[in-house]
């Protein structure tokens, strides 16, 4: 099924959709456990799936390399801005890996990496930040909504899309990502409330990376955890170690499964840390000390997994090298793609405002055309 086939036809994964409105029947408890859920370094790691974990590892290494390359591109002036996810790669990658093809990802402005892990071309994923167009891809092709810059505003979209899919009897889950600061926005509240009332198949993933630009979580909320916010809406809240990709994968998979089975939405708070500044324009030393950053280094998502997998014999030197080589290849391709100057057509400014251009836009397009001709003649 692809959504392009709509309206009307389209093979359904589920012939009889459950009713869109009904009370919550899922037995999952609403209150989160007090401690973030962990797998790596605990007995729960005994049941790790080696193949899946090797894949996670390769993606983590690639994600780390992607962050480094994109940051380098800002320094070269190739990107206007890049909000790094160094330290948060496990959240980004787990979010992408738990979705099926037909599912939708609703990323926030920071979540380029999740889009790439879902299969978006690394260069296309960066055109928004390079500045050649606001969204460099067709959202329907990969089922990735445009990266949303106004915080939390993409969350109600995820609810609406998941609700629409359910009304059509399609097996589609929407996973929406938001930061800790974004949870204070009204749209966060409205989206969670709608999702719970409609029992929509949505998973809300909050990446609590400690700061909204400079503002720490303690100044953002008085709730015990962000996962606690779920209770008031009537959906389960889950607290998970966002640097532990095995835990992330497990908790997200469980939430996606529940959504798919008609159990309604889940709010997941991933506790993680933003290792770099908010963006290249930010000076993180103004609001946090080195000691805090150092402490989180010891809990690095790539190292955590690498240690666990090598200790268990799931990963060896060759495997590590293979992942690094693949990441280098990706980085070289990304550099090459981003170093080519994009070819832009100024007439595109008028092409996508309305299905049919208004007289006003035709006039303005003609004006720009004449200006460009004059420039060309000069």
């Amino acid at each position: 099924m692809t959504v392009q086939e709509l309206p009307g036809a389209g093979a359904s994964h589920r012939p009889t959709p459950p009713p869109a409105w009904r009370p919550r029947t899922d037995a999952a408890p609403l209150l989160p456990d007090p401690e973030p859920y962990r797998v790596l370094g605990t007995p729960a790691a005994d049941r790790l799936d080696p193949a899946l974990m090797r894949r996670c590892y390769a993606e983590l290494v690639r994600g780390r390399r992607y962050n480094a390359q994109a940051t380098a591109l800002t320094k070269q002036g190739r990107l206007a801005v890049y909000p790094s996810t160094v330290g948060q790669e496990a959240c980004e990658i787990a979010a992408a890996l738990v979705l099926e093809d037909q599912d939708w990802l609703f990323p926030s402005y920071r979540d380029t990496l999740a889009a790439v892990a879902r299969g978006l071309d690394p260069v296309q994923a960066l055109t928004l930040l390079r500045g050649d167009w606001h969204t460099g891809y067709d959202p329907r092709e990969h089922r990735i909504a445009p990266l949303s810059t106004p915080l939390a505003t993409q969350l109600p979209h995820a609810v609406g899309l998941a609700h629409a899919a359910r009304l059509r009897g399609d097996d589609v889950v929407a996973l929406a990502m938001v930061g800790d600061g974004g949870t204070s926005e009204g749209d966060f509240h409205e989206a969670l409330n709608f999702a719970a009332v409609w029992q929509a198949p949505v998973v809300f993933l909050v990446q609590n990376n400690g700061f909204a630009i400079s503002v720490p979580l303690a100044k953002q909320t008085a709730a015990p955890t962000l996962a606690h916010k779920a209770v008031g809406y009537g959906m389960p809240g889950r607290l998970v170690d966002g640097n532990d990709i095995a835990a992330m994968h497990e908790v997200l998979t469980e939430a996606v499964r529940r959504a798919r089975a008609g159990g309604g939405p889940t709010l997941i708070e991933a506790v993680t840390y933003r290792m770099e500044a908010h963006t290249n324009a930010d000076d993180a030393t103004r609001y946090r000390g080195d000691a805090e950053v150092e402490a989180w280094k010891a809990h690095d998502p790539v190292d955590l997994l690498e240690r666990e997998l090598t200790a268990r014999g799931i990963l060896d030197e060759a495997g590590i090298q293979e992942a690094r080589d693949a990441a280098e290849t990706m980085a070289a391709e990304l550099r090459e793609g981003m170093n080519a100057d994009p070819v832009l057509d100024p007439m595109d400014l008028f092409a996508h405002v309305y299905a049919e251009q208004t007289g006003r836009l035709r006039e303005q397009a003609a004006m720009l055309c004449a200006e460009l001709d004059a420039e060309g003649d000069a």
Partner: protein
């Protein structure tokens, strides 16, 4: 010339209200196209506070005509996601001033999704907003908010003034692949015309103005709730020796410049009439365009009759604020320009 006269001749026509025509438009659209979904506050069981969605939930089920939680940003935001998945949401905002919580969704997402995605993801959403005063409503129930909408590229903005247009323009809006702000002049909800729901008239699509009354001495340019006032003023002006033409814009975006310009070039004089505040209002834009394109045909500056530049007044004072026949006639008299 009125459309009512033309309608009377039509078989099966009997008095119908604008409210009935709007309901019928949604009903027909929903019956024809299963992707059309109506949603908003109280639109289901109650049929909306103005009863415009009356009977839709009963006929199509609450999955197609949905009482949402009370949250305008959530309603419009959810509609965005539904449209992304191929549905055609028709959103009801309960009152003009209660649409404001949804403005971020409107401006940052609804208006821009086609543009952001280079045309890959148009959003066919119709946002119905009962607007304007003249109903004795208390604060926050009478705003004329069209200037906010017309200032936002990516939105179509239309407003019917007749029963006919209420049906036709709403059908055209729902069929549009672009988002449409559908402004319903709430004080005309119960205005009547001979109109047959069984044989609704085809109307020109979005973006076409109509000359509602032909005349030679000046053009009144108006829309929505001010159309009947202008037609009345035009009748009254005959006694003063003025033969006024009345143009009903019907669509503010796109703005049908050609129909307006053609009329003003013929009459040589123009007055723009609307309820919304004058400063930065649609009339300012229209007057500027008319001046640019008709300068050598104009016998007088383009004048405006608008609401005052004040917050919408309390009900007992609104009659002083709303452009009425007298104020229009006084302004028309000023078109006898001498410098």
């Amino acid at each position: 010339m009125t459309t009512v006269a033309a309608k009377a001749a039509k078989s099966g026509a009997k008095p119908a209200t604008m409210a009935q025509a709007l309901t019928r438009a949604m009903r027909d659209a929903m019956a024809e196209d299963p992707t059309v979904h109506v949603m908003g506050e109280d639109v289901g069981t109650l049929g909306g506070v103005f009863r415009i969605t009356d009977g839709l939930a009963k006929e199509f089920g609450e999955d197609r005509c949905t009482d949402t939680p009370l949250a305008e940003a959530g309603i419009l935001g959810a509609a965005v996601g539904m449209a992304m998945y191929g549905l055609r949401p028709v959103v009801e905002m309960q009152f003009d001033a209660f649409a404001y919580p949804a403005f971020e969704q409107l401006i940052s997402h609804v208006a821009k999704m086609r543009n952001r995605t280079r045309g890959a993801m148009p959003l066919p959403i119709t946002i119905r907003v009962p607007y304007g005063g003249g109903i004795g409503g208390v604060e926050h129930h009478c705003d004329s908010s069209e200037a906010y909408y017309v200032a936002t590229p990516g939105l179509h903005v239309v407003t019917p003034a007749t029963v006919d247009d209420a049906y036709g323009l709403l059908r055209a809006s729902i069929a549009s692949d672009d988002p449409v702000i559908f402004l319903e002049p709430k004080r005309l909800y119960w205005s009547k015309a001979d109109w047959s729901p069984e044989a609704p008239t085809a109307v020109p699509g979005i973006g076409k103005a109509l000359v509602r009354r032909t005349g030679r001495s000046a053009t009144l340019i108006t829309y929505g709730p001010s159309l009947p006032v202008c037609l009345e003023a035009a009748e009254a002006a005959r006694e003063e020796g003025w033969d006024l033409e009345v143009v009903d814009l019907r669509s503010l975006v796109p703005f049908d410049e050609d129909t307006v310009v053609e009329s003003v070039r013929r009459t040589g004089r123009a007055v723009v009439v609307h309820e919304a505040n004058g400063f930065g209002g649609p009339g300012a834009e229209i007057a500027a365009r008319v001046t640019e394109r008709c300068f050598h045909h104009l016998e007088a500056p383009v004048l405006r009759v608008t609401g005052f530049d004040i917050p919408y007044p309390p009900p007992m004072l609104e009659k002083h604020h709303l452009p009425g026949v007298e104020r229009i006639l006084d302004t028309v008299a000023r078109l006898q320009w001498e410098n």
